[in-house]
Symmetry: C5
Subunit: 244 residues, 5 copies
């Protein structure tokens, strides 16, 4: 019964998917939500995978009932977004991971996974990229650089990247320096401009993310707090310092 | 072995079911109990679903033994009520959810799910509605408005609505502003008058709910406390504030 | 492998079984133990059901090793007693319940389940009865009255009564007002005289229970403490106060 | 995969097995270790049963790696010992119990199970015996007396005795009064001299146990502490005081 | 799906594997990492076994994504190393153990398992060896001595040695005296020089381990802290003091 369900056939051609699960700094969620809103993307499918919370989501002034983890499409831009209104429990991530990555593989979707890297930040948050399944070429064609330090991505997104690697699925994981404890719209902006835009071949206006940064922080505080309480287990990139 | 068991064939025609599991403000339970009492509804079936507490329930001056989650029918009004004397553990809700929603689907029952939305309340509690499986039309034919803010329904009722959505079953979820920590007969009255009555096509006297509000609060305090202890996990609607 | 095992064929004719699992006030255990002792009943079988503690029980001046939950028979009185030296974990009760009630059904045994109802007690503890599977007639033929208030029986005995109801097995549950925190020989006496004697068609001397009340309390204090620590989860009847 | 594995065929004839799992006072372990050492018994097999800790054990000045629960044989004395270097978790005892008792049954081994009974001790610790599967005769042929009080054996050894009873396997459980919180070489001596020697038909020197009592206590303090932390769940005999 | 996966056929001939899971003093991890770095070993395979954390690992200045537990080969030296960037949960070790040891058996690999023995250390940490499956000969051909005291190896490495013993697989476990609470490069050096070098037939420069000891300690502090928090459950050798 666990599956990704589409309302209709995808019309996007070899689409790129931006994964937006909540993690450190809510980097992925803020970036993914911004794409859905800015491009007025269409809700085309839902994840009915084991391990996802069974809750009913609704939007203002709309009687539509939605599951919490959904797929949105912009067919013209060959773009998909995975939007989530809930954190995914890392202990439940395994079933979700097989469900989603299996679907990506069957549909020949190119996923961009997003993770925050909690850091003392300088002016502009750094964005780094790693690849699986031969997607290093795609990464090399952009200005995204490899990580400067060794590290690991944990949490649900770490499990997704691990699964992509295990299946040799072409995928990229973007790692953005972020504040750990607060929603970080600047980090989301950096990952959109420096990573998602060139890899997905899109242009996206991000001024609103900076102008409305304070508003976004407040709006997302509750979700960020849930993430923080989950502690080490939510998605984040962690440096592995020292020789190897 | 897990199933909904009827004592006899239902005689109601395309009945509407009012779900009365205990949740925030006990809104659903108070409303459902009021219907059973006011219409002197007949006990016609029981839920023997995995995940429900195995306890034996009895009524005053009656030697009948009943399971804790039961179905009542008013055949003339084409009305069913799901009455529960116990909270349903959210961690156990999954099995119950498949058991009940599967039965609703097979019997072509139209369910009204009920959830409280803990809020600073103004004079009259607001009642909002969302729909699954094409029931938006039914909702549009009433004065029930969509939610004013984004949000999500969690707990056992959230799982029921999620399952109805996943199966594309026609259903409505009514969300009533409520006090979070105390039984709230006024919120139950609002959901009965504004939502259940027009959607189920019934008329129901609710003065007693207001007159006897204090008595009801006291009577239900114990169950409400159990709910409160279950914390975030019991059924409630939660606003998702901010842009999406 | 889970089963009720008899050493020999039962010779009792359509026997009545008195269930003596430890619960609130140890009402059932004290009553059951009293019957086994007074009638010098014969150990005829044992419960090897999943969910029962795997411990080895022994008696003074006897090298016989027994399992902790056993069946005793008085063939002349057509009487069976279920005696237990250990509490049954409510979370494990489900497997035991199916095992025991399935056996009762196959053997056409008429069970009397016993539960305490923690109460401020007046002079003589009240004893109330509820029935499943058409046993209301048997109850009506006695002076046992229905409960005065709504309520529910929880714990292992609640699960047994629930299972009897689900299988439509003729059974009676006797509910005796009891002290909650201490072994209550008076409540056990009331349930023996007012409920078990007329329903099982036996006469039983109970003076010893009153004369030796203090001794019994002390002897059972340890088991009662285990019960109390199990808290709400051990068997007890709980009033459901208020309108329904 | 779970099984008892022998390095070679047993040469003992209808052997008696002394069970030496750690429990109250470490009575069984001290007695079993003493037999292995005194008779220079040969390691002939190992328990690879589910529920046993997967650790690697070694001895001084020896590169041999052993599993933690092992069988030793003295073929001339028709004696087997079950030696354990680790406590067995009671919650995991069920799988181990079926694995070991099934093997005892198939191999026609006569087991002596050992349990401490925490008590205010007088001069010489009392040793009591109970039997399963018709072994009461063997017990009656010795000076071991039945217990003076009712009681129950819990923990892994209680589960072994329970399983022997359920399978009607001839077995004896010896219960020795012991200090609860400290290793008790005197209790082990009493069980060796009064119980194991006559039942296994052997003679065993035990002076060393008394002379080296202090040394033994210290050596075993760590294991005893693990046992104590496991609390009520480790093997011990518990009196059931009062009428039954 | 759980398996060890190689990128290519192994070219090493009857290779020796050095196991480098994090444990007491990080002895095994520091030694294994040193071999991978010093010999510039090639990443040839990965462990996709149940029970291993699903995280994505990356290296500085490299876009390659790796799973956390990997195999490295030096074909000329007939050497394999098992490198891990994460601790393995002991409660999850069972599945990993069967997965890895099964692979070692099929590929005829000779494993060297590494464990720290927390001790007050004298000048040079002692290194002791135990063997399974007939590998005692290989051990005897070196200067590695058997342990001076009885003891047991627990944690994931203890489970690996136990499994090797249960399958009668030729293997050696090296036990090095170590500091318990801090990364101990000296203990790693001792195990490399005294144990791994002669057993694997290699020569390895270890001066860097001593010169850079402070740097290594700091780099590994975080992982060591995770190990310490896991407490008794992480891999370590524990003395069993006293007679047996």
């Amino acid at each position: 019964m666990a599956h990704v369900e589409l309302h209709a056939e995808l019309t996007a051609d070899e689409p790129t998917l931006v994964e937006g699960l909540p993690g450190a700094g809510l980097v992925g969620k803020i970036a993914a939500d911004h794409l859905v809103e800015t491009f007025d993307m269409e809700w085309v499918g839902s994840c009915f995978c084991d391990g996802l919370p069974k809750v009913a989501v609704y939007r203002p002034d709309d009687t539509t009932t939605m599951p919490p983890v959904r797929l949105y499409e912009d067919a013209d831009r060959d773009l998909l977004v995975l939007q989530s209104d809930v954190p995914v429990s890392p202990s439940q991530a395994s079933a979700f991971t097989e469900c989603l990555v299996g679907w990506l593989e069957r549909e020949a979707v190119f996923p961009l996974f997003l993770s925050g890297l909690p850091e003392e930040k300088s002016d502009v948050p750094g964005v780094y990229g790693i690849a699986t399944g031969g997607a290093a070429d795609r990464l090399a064609a952009t200005d995204v650089t490899p990580p400067r330090e060794a590290g690991l991505i944990s949490g649900p997104t770490g499990a997704l990247v691990h699964e992509a690697g295990a299946r040799d699925l072409a995928a990229v994981a973007l790692i953005a320096e972020t504040e750990a404890r607060f929603p970080d719209p600047e980090a989301a902006r950096a990952v959109l401009v420096d990573g998602i835009a060139p890899l997905a071949g899109i242009e996206v206006e991000t001024d609103a993310l900076v102008e409305r940064a304070e508003e976004i922080r407040e709006a997302r505080q509750r979700l960020a707090k849930q993430m923080e309480e989950a502690g080490d287990e939510s998605t984040e990139a962690t440096p592995i310092r020292g020789f190897q």
